[in-house]
Symmetry: C2
C-alpha cells in the first residue's frame, strides 16, 4: 500500500460564488490508526449544498471548515486497518471525513453498513442517508404532511427534493408539484418520479408557474431554494398550510441579503406555519425512515437517481457544478474501487 | 323608549389610510326582536386593529363589512327585550353586533356575562375577551412559551401586547422586552407592567434597540406589528426560537406590499418556527384562559388598562386613533349608561 494519500484542503474563503482556487488538493503522509481507530479507504464521497455554508467563517448549519485544513463531509468506504474490535477489517462504513482518499477515524464515529442486496453503498450518502432523512423529517415532522395534502417542492430534482416529492406521492398526496432548472429535469419529475406537475423556474415568475401547476393552491411547501420560491409558495398555501424550510440555495452565493417575502401578512391571515430545520435535530426519525425507504427501494416504488462524478480530482468541480444545479438526484464523487 | 336608533355604516372602501368620510352614522327605525331574538342596548363597543381588514373587499381575518350596511364588532350591553327563555331581560351580554346603539341579536349569538366583583363589563371586550384570548393562544400555543424563555412583544402597549408581556412575566419568563410608539408607553411597560426592558421604535432601527434590550437574544417573539419588527426579531431569535404572528399593523394602511424580512435564511439555520394565527381557531383554550386571567385580576397581579372614548359619535375617531397607536391598553367606546 502507498504511504501517501491525497485530500482536499480549504485554501480560501470565497466572497460570493466559490471558484476552484478556493480549494487545494494536497498529498500527505498516510497515518496509522491509533488504538480505537480505523483506517478507511474512501470509495465515494458526498457533495451537498450545506457545504457552501461551511466555507464561510463562523457557524452556519455545521461548523466552518478550517482554512488550510482538510474539509469534511459524508463518505463511504472500506476498512483497511482496524484497531477496534467493533469495526473489523473489510467492513463497509459510513463516516464524516470525506474529501480524501483515506481517512483515519475513531471507530465510534463510523457506522458499519449492512450488505443489502440491490442497494449500492452510495445510497447511504443519499436516499438512505442524510438527504433522505432530511426529506423525511421535513415532510412528515416539520410540515406535518398527511394523506390528501397537495405538496409543492422547490429544487425538486435535487437529492432532497426528488425524495420529498416521491415520499409525498407514496403516502397519498392529492398533488405533487415540483420546480427545477432544466426542461430535462422537469420531464424526469413528471415522467419518472410521478409528480403531478412540474415547471422550469426559468420560464417565468414562480408565482405564475405555480398558480398554473396548482390552481387550487397547496397545503405543504418544502423549500430548498428560498427567495422568489418562498414568496410564491406563501401566496399559494391554503388555510393552515405548512412550510418546511430546509435550505435557500438561491441565496448561498449572494453577497447581499436577498429580498424577503413581501406577503408575510398572509402567514397571519391564512394561519400558516413556516418552520426551519436542520436534519441533525431529527435523527430520532432514522429507524422509521430507513425501514420505509428500504421497503420502497426493494419494491421498486422509489427512484433513487445519482449523478456520479469519477475521481477525487474532480470533487471540487462536482461540488461547484452541484451548486449550479448540474446534478439530477444525488451528486456523489466516486473516489476509488 | 325611542323608536329610532343610530348605527355606523361603511360608506366607502379606503385605499390606504381610512378617513371619517369612509363611515356614516345613520339613524334608523328600531326593530322588534323576533322569536328567539333579544334587543340589546349597547353599553360599550370594541375597536380593534383587525377591523381595518374588514373595510377591504374580500375576506381578510374576518368577513368584509358590506358597503352601505351597518358594521359589526364586539360589544357588551343590557337586554331590554327578550323573546328567548335563555336570555332574560336585564341580562348583561357580549355579542358581535357593535357599532350601534341597539342591536337585535339571535339569542344563540350572545354570551350572558356573569356579574364578577371588581370586573367591569368592558373587560369582556379586552383582557377577558378576544384580545386576551389572542394573547393567550399566541404565547402559549403558537409560540409554545415555557418558563425561562426570553420574550419580545411588538406593539407591547396595545390591547394584546400588554397582556402577552404580563402573561409571560406571570408564567416565569427570564426576560420580557416590548416595543411601543411613545416614551410614555415605554415607561408604562417597565414601571407598571413589569417588563424587563422596553424601547420606542422611533428611536432608531428596531434591530439596534432590540439588541440593546435583549443582548443575549430571545426565545419567543409575539408580533403585532410586522415589517421591520419581524426582521429584527428573526435576527434575535436563538436556536429553536418561536414566533407567533398575530398581526402586522405597520402594513394595514399601506398600498404597496411592504418589504419582507431579508434574513429568512436564519429561519433554517436557527431552526425557527414562524406561525400565523387567528384567535377564532383557538377558542378551545377559553376556559383555561379565563380561569387564569380572572385569578390574576382578583389577585391584582395583572394590569388591565383601557383607553375609553365616550359616545357612539366618536367611535370612528376612536378607531382611526387606535390604528395610529393613540391607545394604551384596550381601546373601547362607551356608548351609553
Amino acid at each position: 500500500m502507498s504511504t501517501t494519500t491525497r485530500e482536499w484542503h480549504l485554501a480560501a474563503r470565497p466572497h460570493g460564488e466559490p471558484t476552484p482556487a478556493d480549494f487545494r488538493l494536497v498529498e500527505t503522509e498516510l497515518a496509522d490508526p491509533a488504538d480505537g481507530q480505523v483506517l478507511v479507504r474512501t470509495t465515494a464521497m458526498s457533495v451537498d449544498p450545506y457545504m457552501r455554508g461551511r466555507m464561510n467563517a463562523g457557524r452556519s448549519y455545521a461548523a466552518a471548515w478550517e482554512l488550510g485544513e482538510p474539509m469534511q463531509g459524508g463518505a463511504v468506504g472500506e476498512v483497511l486497518q482496524s484497531r477496534s474490535d467493533r469495526v473489523p477489517v473489510g467492513s463497509r462504513v459510513l463516516h464524516g471525513l470525506g474529501w480524501r482518499e483515506h481517512a483515519v477515524v475513531d471507530a465510534s464515529q463510523v457506522v458499519v453498513l449492512p450488505e443489502l442486496e440491490g442497494i449500492p453503498l452510495t445510497y447511504h450518502l443519499g436516499v438512505l442517508g442524510m438527504p433522505g432523512l432530511t426529506a423525511w423529517a421535513g415532510l412528515f415532522r416539520l410540515a406535518e404532511f398527511h394523506e390528501g395534502d397537495a405538496v409543492f417542492v422547490s429544487g425538486a430534482a435535487g437529492a432532497v427534493g426528488s425524495l420529498v416529492g416521491q415520499f409525498a406521492r407514496l403516502r397519498g398526496a392529492s398533488a405533487v408539484v415540483g420546480s427545477a432548472g432544466t426542461p430535462e429535469k422537469v420531464r424526469w419529475l413528471t415522467e419518472e418520479l410521478g409528480f403531478t406537475a412540474a415547471f422550469d423556474y426559468h420560464d417565468g415568475p414562480v408565482r405564475t408557474s405555480l398558480a398554473a401547476a396548482a390552481p387550487d393552491g397547496i397545503d405543504v411547501f418544502f423549500d430548498n431554494v428560498g427567495g422568489e420560491h418562498l414568496e410564491a409558495a406563501i401566496g399559494a398555501l391554503r388555510l393552515h398550510g405548512r412550510a418546511a424550510l430546509c435550505g435557500a440555495i438561491s441565496g448561498y452565493n449572494t453577497t447581499e441579503a436577498p429580498p424577503g417575502p413581501r406577503n408575510m401578512m398572509l402567514v397571519v391571515g391564512q394561519q400558516l406555519s413556516l418552520r426551519g430545520f436542520i436534519v441533525g435535530s431529527h435523527t430520532d426519525l432514522r429507524p422509521e425512515f430507513q425501514e420505509a425507504v428500504a421497503g420502497w427501494l426493494r419494491s421498486g416504488e422509489l427512484v433513487a437517481r445519482e449523478t456520479v462524478v469519477e475521481g477525487l480530482d474532480h470533487a471540487v468541480t462536482a461540488f461547484l457544478d452541484m451548486l449550479r444545479g448540474a446534478n439530477t438526484g444525488k451528486m456523489v464523487v466516486r473516489v476509488g474501487g
